[in-house]
C-alpha cells in the first residue's frame, strides 16, 4: 500500500511516503517512524509529495510521532502534501499543529 524511505540531511531524517496511507497501511508507517525515534532521531521531515491518500489512522500515526518527538525536545515537520491531502490536514487541524511547508528546502529551515 505504501512505500516508505528515508535519508539523513544534516541530522534531519527526511521520510518519503508514497502511495495510500489508509487504515490498512498506517501500521507500516507507524513501525517505520517508531524505529527512527527509537534509534534516537529527534528531527523528522515527512515529505508527502507522493502520498495520494491519508485516513485518520495515518493522521494518528503522525500525531503520535509528533508528540513523542516533542517529548524528546525534537520536532516533526510536513512538506509537499498534494491538494487533497492538504485539505484533510486542514480539516483535522494538522496544519495548525505542525508546520506544513511547500518544499523540502523550506521545511529544513524550520528545524
Amino acid at each position: 500500500m505504501i512505500d516508505v524511505s528515508s535519508r539523513d540531511e544534516n541530522g534531519v531524517q527526511i521520510v518519503e511516503v508514497e502511495g495510500k496511507l489508509n487504515t490498512g497501511a498506517s501500521p507500516d508507517l507507524e513501525k517505520y517512524l517508531s524505529t527512527l525515534v527509537e534509534e534516537g532521531w529527534t528531527k523528522i521531515l515527512l515529505n508527502l509529495e507522493y502520498l495520494d491518500f491519508i485516513a485518520s489512522t495515518g493522521l494518528r500515526v503522525i500525531l503520535a510521532t509528533g508528540k513523542r518527538l516533542v517529548g524528546t525536545g525534537g520536532k516533526l515537520v510536513i512538506c509537499n502534501p498534494n491538494l487533497m491531502v492538504m485539505d484533510v490536514l486542514k480539516m483535522s487541524g494538522f496544519n495548525q499543529m505542525f508546520e506544513v511547508c511547500d518544499s523540502e528546502e523550506e521545511a529544513l529551515e524550520n528545524f
Binding site: 489508509n22 487504515t23 490498512g24 493522521l59 503520535a64 508528540k67 516533542v70
Partner: protein, 139 residues
C-alpha cells in the same frame, strides 16, 4: 444498486475502497468528491471493525452502492455492537499538540466530507450507516 460483502479485516479495505470509488466515478463525482467518499468509507469501515466488532475477523462488512446521476449513496451494514456516530463529539482540535486526543478525528472527517449521514440499528438487521455524496456541479 450493487451490494458486496467483505471480511471485516483491515486488508479488505482496499477492495471496499475500489468498490465505492468505481461507483463514485460512475455517479459522475469529480476527483475531489471521489476522494471524499473513499476517505469517509475507509473511516466508517475502520469504526465497524474497531468498535462494532471489536477487532478483525469477527464479522462481515456489507457495502451497497446506489448510483444516481451526480449522487452516490453508500450503505454500510454490520452485525456488531451498536455504535452511533452521533454519540461521539467532534475532537477538540484547538489545543496544544501534547493535549490533543486523536480519537474522534475519523468521525469528524466523515461528517465534514459527506453531505448526509444516517445511522440506524435494529436487533434483527444490525447496524446500517447510510452516507450520501452529491456532486457540486449538479447543485
Amino acid at each position: 444498486m450493487k451490494t458486496s460483502s467483505f471480511p471485516g479485516r483491515y486488508d479488505s479495505l482496499a477492495k471496499v475502497s475500489e468498490f465505492v470509488v468505481n461507483a463514485a466515478k460512475e455517479a459522475g463525482l469529480n476527483s475531489e468528491e471521489v476522494y471524499a467518499v473513499e476517505l469517509a468509507v475507509d473511516e466508517a469501515c475502520c469504526n465497524i471493525i474497531d468498535h462494532a466488532y471489536g477487532g478483525e475477523g469477527l464479522g462481515e462488512l456489507n457495502c451497497t452502492v446506489k448510483v444516481d446521476q451526480g449522487k452516490l449513496t453508500v450503505i454500510l451494514s454490520d452485525t456488531g455492537k451498536a455504535f452511533d456516530p452521533k454519540s461521539i463529539p467532534d475532537p477538540k482540535l484547538d489545543v496544544p499538540l501534547e493535549q490533543l486526543k486523536p480519537r474522534g478525528v475519523g468521525l469528524y472527517l466523515m461528517r465534514k466530507l459527506m453531505d448526509d449521514i444516517n445511522y440506524e440499528t435494529s436487533p434483527n438487521h444490525g447496524n446500517t450507516l447510510t452516507m450520501v455524496k452529491r456532486s457540486q456541479s449538479d447543485n
